[in-house]
């Protein structure tokens, strides 16, 4: 690059006031319309969740966790709850095990519906913002019927779950599933077969599986490259009931660039994720047995934990979410908790992905990786 060209380079800040930049900012160096350097900045959303967890007891901890990402609150609570259960040696009843899994998958669907509405809006397809968000309300209604709250559900607790299923809830969940089953082919047709969406996303933000694994990506971003990496299959959790359903890890194969994925593939991948989740819920719903929903000794055991450390993890909507918990003897609170959010990796992948692309494609690449600010700034 000759120095004359570099003289023309301009630096601009994308965010934190930009409409699409909800709590993040990236410094972009532009030559003409092309980005030559991207410097993402984290830290605008920092709420010291790890420190806060050191001052909350083990029943209050999940409340902090679910506030990290409100879209997948059932999933976010689980790593903490799982770590506490491992240290305390709590047995989760079969009924609670299946109930947890069903709600985690429902939470995944509603989170993806939120994401694809937002992603389509970033591309300028405003109808696709409103339609999935109407369907999302059906899931939120079901969650409200079950727990009394739409987002801050506070459902999982060490040793089981807090609220039992009611007939009214099951009816509402079924209504939400029917609605998404009916509308999903329509959305697929509108987005994937429409020319606007294809033109904006095909061959944009292309990276290979090796690159993705080196950057630490996980979840749908890496599955879109054709790597069937999924914690639900790879490391089955004994407190979740994924083994009771018959399902396959969905992956996408890009025919033009084998082993790579672009923004379009990542969208297709997320449609497949929704279909898988619906499949799992439909198989698990008839299998719920009668019985208790919480270990009777859970309350006493979770009051004071023995010395130990544990690692709880879950395959979240955006990738592997995990928490490492260390306790001291007769601990009432955590000695140290370390959260691993999937989005820090996907946010900093922009540094390698964006240079060379046009300025208008920047938000497409960002949106297709589905980062959530609350998950990179804990």
């Amino acid at each position: 690059m000759s120095p004359d060209i570099l003289d023309e380079a301009i630096e601009i800040w994308f965010g934190p006031q930009h409409v699409s930049a909800h709590g993040w900012a990236a410094k972009l160096t532009l030559i003409g319309d092309y980005i030559v350097e991207c410097d993402p900045h984290a830290g605008y959303f920092h709420r010291s969740a790890e420190k806060v967890l050191e001052f909350r007891n083990f029943r209050q901890g999940p409340l902090v966790m679910e506030r990290l990402c409100m879209l997948e609150s059932f999933l976010m609570e689980y790593p903490y709850v799982s770590a506490v259960e491992q240290i305390a040696g709590l047995e989760v009843p079969e009924r609670a095990r299946i109930m947890r899994t069903i709600l985690m998958e429902a939470s995944r669907i509603h989170s993806l519906q939120f994401w694809w509405g937002q992603f389509a809006a970033e591309l300028g397809l405003f109808t696709m913002l409103l339609w999935p968000w109407v369907d999302r309300e059906y899931f939120l209604d079901a969650f409200e019927e079950l727990t009394g709250s739409r987002h801050a559900v506070s459902f999982n607790t060490p040793g089981g779950v807090k609220y039992d299923f009611t007939d009214k809830f099951l009816k509402k969940l079924d209504r939400a599933l029917l609605r998404i089953e009916e509308r999903l082919p329509k959305f697929k047709d509108m987005l994937l077969h429409g020319p606007t969406f294809r033109l904006r996303t095909k061959n944009v933000g292309l990276f290979s599986a090796e690159q993705g694994l080196r950057w630490g990506l996980s979840g749908p971003n890496i599955k879109a490259c054709g790597v069937p990496m999924d914690l639900r299959k790879d490391k089955p959790d004994s407190n979740l009931a994924y083994d009771l359903a018959d399902w396959e890890v969905p992956t996408v194969h890009n025919e033009e660039h084998p082993g790579q994925s672009d923004a379009y593939d990542r969208m297709v991948q997320r449609f497949l994720e929704v279909e898988t989740s619906i499949n799992i819920i439909r198989q698990l719903l008839p299998q719920i047995p009668e019985g208790p929903i919480i270990d009777p000794k859970a309350r006493a055991k979770a009051n004071r934990l023995p010395e130990g450390e544990a690692y709880g993890r879950v395959e979240g909507t955006r990738g592997i979410t995990s928490l490492w918990l260390k306790t001291t003897e007769k601990a009432q609170t955590a000695y140290r908790a370390k959260i691993r959010g999937p989005c820090f990796a996907s946010y900093y992948a922009l540094k390698h992905l964006v240079p060379g692309s046009r300025f208008a494609d920047f938000i497409v690449i960002f949106g297709s990786l589905d980062p959530y600010p609350g998950l990179w700034d804990r």
Partner: protein, 143 residues
């Protein structure tokens, strides 16, 4: 572009306009009617002092220190002067689950906004009375 095709397009537009006008709206006219709140809605609390033993389990369970019991206050029977701070409360429901004597409940009142910040500090008398009924589903008043 013939006369009849233009007329046809106008009729198509009019058809959609009329179907929108006579369709039921998706939203509710909030101050006059409210949506149906489920049975487990976590709204503002109500304290039943006849059952309360001032054991302070709710105070211990609260993750955000929104509840305070003033045991030296002799004005209230059983010393259970419960102060509730709704500027802090996150409506997690742990206090209601911690209460073994069924003395603390959530109500369906979810709209708590007040003109002044101090009005959200509920004193013992206010937390045990509902100053108004929760908004009921009044059906389709404007439909």
């Amino acid at each position: 572009m013939g006369f009849f095709s233009t007329l046809g397009e106008i009729f198509t537009i009019l058809k959609h306009v009329f179907s929108q006008v006579f369709e039921r709206p998706f939203t509710v006219l909030y101050p006059y009617e409210d949506r149906e709140h489920p049975e487990r809605t976590r709204g503002r609390h109500i304290h039943i002092r006849e059952k309360c033993t001032a054991c302070a389990q709710c105070v211990r369970a609260c993750p955000v220190v929104a509840i305070r019991i003033d045991k030296s206050d002799r004005k209230y029977e059983k010393d259970a002067a419960l102060y509730f701070d709704y500027t802090r409360c996150i409506f997690c429901g742990l206090c209601v689950q911690a209460c073994r004597f069924n003395a603390l409940f959530h109500t369906k009142v979810v709209d708590l906004s007040e003109p002044e910040r101090e009005r959200l500090h509920y004193d013992p008398e206010r937390i045990e009375t509902l100053d108004r009924d929760p908004l009921e589903w009044r059906g389709s008043r404007f439909r």
